[in-house]
Symmetry: C2
Subunit: 575 residues, 2 copies
């Protein structure tokens, strides 16, 4: 075989295996060294090719797609710092448990560590932030090579999809020349995708859970973000049987699409409620069960830390279970699945009044939040307005920092079919535009991105994706000119240096960026204008609604809400 | 001591040590966990604080500053993916040998690996791409702690500045609360900066070099990019004594500021000349000496690889010497310094005709290049025009991909005081705007950035720096709508997928970006407009000249130049 034939067999065997093992989407950034794989992927009808010239944004684009599709997505780039630009998205994928298959093209061994251009130390490039990394052999035409890479693709996708999921890294060396022969059909593969195990709890684990439920007098279930593949029907059925207050983070997708008979159990305003001292004093639980990640809410974490309930069961698929407060008393290692329907929730001694108090508090909070949305016009109120008016079948992506917290406070439970997404693996404000676009490429539904000005700036390059793919996105950017969240923190008391180091106002607006990317654009300075804007129909693939707000005002009005709500909550114990 | 006092002592001791050991510039990105250090740096008059909200750009900004100042520069960010965004700049710094001191604030041990927000595995985050990494102890008020961190700052800066220089990473855990008491004065330190060794060649090494010079009949000296701290006077004095053809890459800074009596030896058109077969056939050297990095030029590397001269001496400070062609016969480990003045260059048997042929060829090339600049109007010709018209005291930053290659071809040697910079550690097209701004912040001279449209887009966030600092930059963006360099490669023969994967046209222009950042803006579509634009005076801190060019045309005209030049070069042997 000629070198070109050897190279051709190698890359087609590789992509054929990836296709067989479930990869449908490939995000490619341009570069020379990755040519053989790029041409092979592009020439096959089995893949959707998504393109981006900024590898940092490309990484988050793939992350959004993999997260939303709950399927492995391939990233492909050339050698050098291109690969280093993937790092933020890979770190997020690792902690958010997203199955990315990262393919980095590399120089052959003789061009590594010798001062060759665009050659860095790529094997093990991402350290502990991938589940596995492998440096593939050079295409050499020797008989062990093709079966090896074929089966290694199975290992890579299997590991990425094994719970807890996460990114894997495959480094692929190529010698020049880099051109291949094109094939019309993918070659047959000889190895079939592995049959992946489920992580089910032991009988002892289920017994533990049942005992906790039966012996609890006061308690609640917390549901945080979890993998998109978890069946919501199973969760609803569990909630229906449990009959406890259920504190649902928006990212669990259980604040919306709620079946009628589950509606009453859903407590979405725990973040606001748990700012109230009297409530916390009276409502200490003896038992807490948590599914999914630890929610965003700081009041909830402070409450748990202060109360230290006698039993806290965390159901988490990772042996390194998530428990930043060190309050968990039992870790049941498991994926949420069919087994949950077998958990016996009968013979409870649960205090009905404890449930009723949570529900009453949530009703009070709902009332105040809805009034606030009606009467105020700060960021929170406008965000709340947006949530109320999201149509059935539209989704919301919330950036980190203030937007996700505004979702926590102002997103009220609903029967509507609206899903809420965010990057909560590491809570970065980076890569958010790209992740949102990746999400939308999979859902094919209308998507609103709620984002602050610094976060939007950070990944303004995310919009480049719209030059290569059809995207459908409305960006609602809360422009408070700087880092709004810091005004809520103790740092803001240091007048001398606060604005320089934390406020970091840029004075930038997004009208020019909108023009650059041919986006429909509205700037709004009042509630009326905001309402008018969100009811104006979307005429272009990309839309930007820029809301001019004030950092200081947000803090003042938010605090007013919690004070007023607190006074009403106090009355629950004054009767 | 209270916790706040302990924290205060800790961070002030740390920054006092850094100040004593030569750190003057600190690049800070906003974030909560880094508050104690950010406030300490900002409150001290010993540091210039440079700010950026995008940590990827911040990394390259610091890189540009450290590279140009030839001094350690501190980077400071919060925990989480913020730190991961530094990775591309750190990788470039590692291979370009730039002394960055990367400080990443981290969560304390009890919040690591437990699912806490914004907590990633930061110790050893950058793997093999830093020279050293350390996870500092938590501020605890115990007696060993302060002396330890003080001396560790000495180790960190010493290692970063030890040849070959490079980035070091210091991870700093902080517990809440994060506020400090402010101090007017930095505390005294007890340890003085180490007296760093020079890497001088052994007597055997110098003897080797002298023997090579004395026994060479045909040869040349290659000078690539080297540390800014290398004395140019010493290099000129060596060139003066050596009397060989000297192939200087622009990044050596030896294509400009040339003393009159050295001017004749400087061969800057080797890239064009070595495309000529007849020249290569007749001009095989027996001896080559190289200082600094391997130059950009591919014809030069192909020539060396084909000829395999009997003696190739590479003087490189790294034990891992740079020699991608595997043709070096002797590696002399050394920094370029005083010792070079002691090298005996007398008693040569060097063939005068060999020297003369190089100089004649260079004259021919110069003539063709100057004619080309006069007559053509493609990217290369316009770039050449820009170089010719750079005023004494202005500098040029060239992006990777085509701009640095256009510098190689079209930047003619000059007595003018013009320095040329680029990122050649890993040749990425990322972070270029930021590196250029970092360079200008140190030189305080006029700076022109020559960049392609994709590279400009990639780091358009670099411009955010202009919202926080006074910058002075003219960006000349060659907008050929996509990846121009690929049109020169074999990939371009694949019509079916080339434009999708390599051309990657975005259709974007930079007028809106100019408006967003309040930059002076000209778009030019002809040579006349370009000349008019570069002679219009700069009225704003930021200026963008957008040159609309054509990818295909560039390839055609470049090839025409080489053909014509080649015919004239052939005549050197037809007499």
């Amino acid at each position: 075989m000629t070198n070109k034939e050897v190279l051709t067999e190698y890359v087609y065997q590789m992509i054929s295996a990836l296709s067989s093992y479930g990869v449908k989407d490939v995000v490619i950034s341009p570069g020379s060294r990755s040519t053989p794989l790029a041409y092979a992927f592009a020439s096959s009808k089995e893949f959707r090719i998504v393109r981006h010239v900024d590898e940092r944004s490309a990484g988050f684009l793939a992350l959004g797609m993999a997260k939303t599709a709950s399927a492995p997505v391939v990233l492909l780039c050339t050698s050098g710092t291109a690969a280093a630009n993937y790092f933020p998205a890979i770190v997020e994928a690792y902690y958010a448990r997203i199955p990315l298959i990262v393919l980095t093209a590399d120089r052959p061994h003789e061009l590594r560590g010798v001062g060759a251009p665009q050659a860095i130390d790529q094997p093990n490039l991402y350290g502990h932030h991938v589940k596995w990394t492998v440096d593939l052999p050079i295409p050499d035409g020797e008989s062990p090579t093709l079966p090896h890479i074929e089966r290694h693709m199975a290992r890579a996708t299997s590991l990425a999809m094994t719970s807890p999921r996460g990114p894997v890294h495959i480094n692929v060396p190529f010698r020049e020349p880099l051109l291949i022969h094109f094939k019309d059909e993918l070659p047959a593969i000889t190895f079939n995708q592995a049959d992946l195990a489920e992580l089910t709890p032991t009988a002892r684990g289920i017994d533990l859970l049942e005992q906790a439920i039966k012996s609890a007098e006061k308690g609640f279930l917390i549901i945080g973000e979890m993998d998109q593949s978890v069946s919501q029907d199973i969760l609803w059925s569990f909630i229906r049987h449990l009959k406890w207050p259920v504190l649902v983070e928006s990212l669990s997708h259980l604040r919306s699409n709620i079946p009628e008979d589950c509606m009453m159990y859903i407590v979405e305003h725990y973040d606001s409620i748990l700012k109230n001292d009297l409530f916390k004093q009276h409502m200490a639980p003896d038992t807490v069960i948590r599914f999914g990640a630890q929610p965003v809410s700081k009041p909830l974490t402070l409450f748990m830390k202060a109360v230290k309930p006698a039993t806290i069961i965390t159901v988490d698929e990772d042996a390194l279970f998530r428990d930043p407060l060190a309050v968990t008393t039992n870790h049941i290692q498991a994926q949420l699945g069919e087994w949950l329907t077998t958990v016996d929730c009968f013979d409870q001694i649960f205090e009905k009044d404890y449930l009723m108090k949570w529900l009453a508090a949530n009703d009070i909070a709902t009332q105040f939040v809805k009034q606030y949305i009606q009467n105020e016009q700060d960021e929170g109120a406008l965000a709340g307005l947006l949530f109320e008016r999201l149509e059935d079948g539209a989704d919301l992506f919330a950036s980190s920092s203030m937007p996700i917290r505004d979702v926590d406070t102002f997103f009220c439970k609903t029967e509507k079919d609206v899903q809420v997404f965010a990057n909560r693996g590491t809570n970065g404000i980076d890569g958010v535009v790209s992740t949102a676009i990746g999400t939308q490429l999979v859902t094919n539904r209308e998507l609103y991105l709620l984002i602050g000005d610094l976060s939007f700036l950070h990944d303004s390059n995310g919009l480049i994706a719209s030059r290569y793919q059809d995207v459908n996105l409305t960006v609602v950017v809360m422009n408070n000119d700087g880092g709004g969240i810091f005004s809520y923190l103790a740092q803001s008391t240091v007048e001398a240096h606060f604005e320089q180091l934390f406020g970091t106002a840029t004075g930038l607006t997004f009208d020019h960026l909108a023009a650059m990317y041919d986006a429909q654009y509205d700037v709004v300075k009042s509630k009326e204008e905001f309402i008018a804007a969100i009811h104006t129909s979307k005429k272009k693939p990309l839309r930007i609604i820029e809301v001019m707000t004030d950092r200081q005002e947000n803090v003042v009005t938010h605090r007013k809400l919690w004070t007023a709500m607190g006074e009403e909550l106090n009355k629950l114990w004054q009767v």
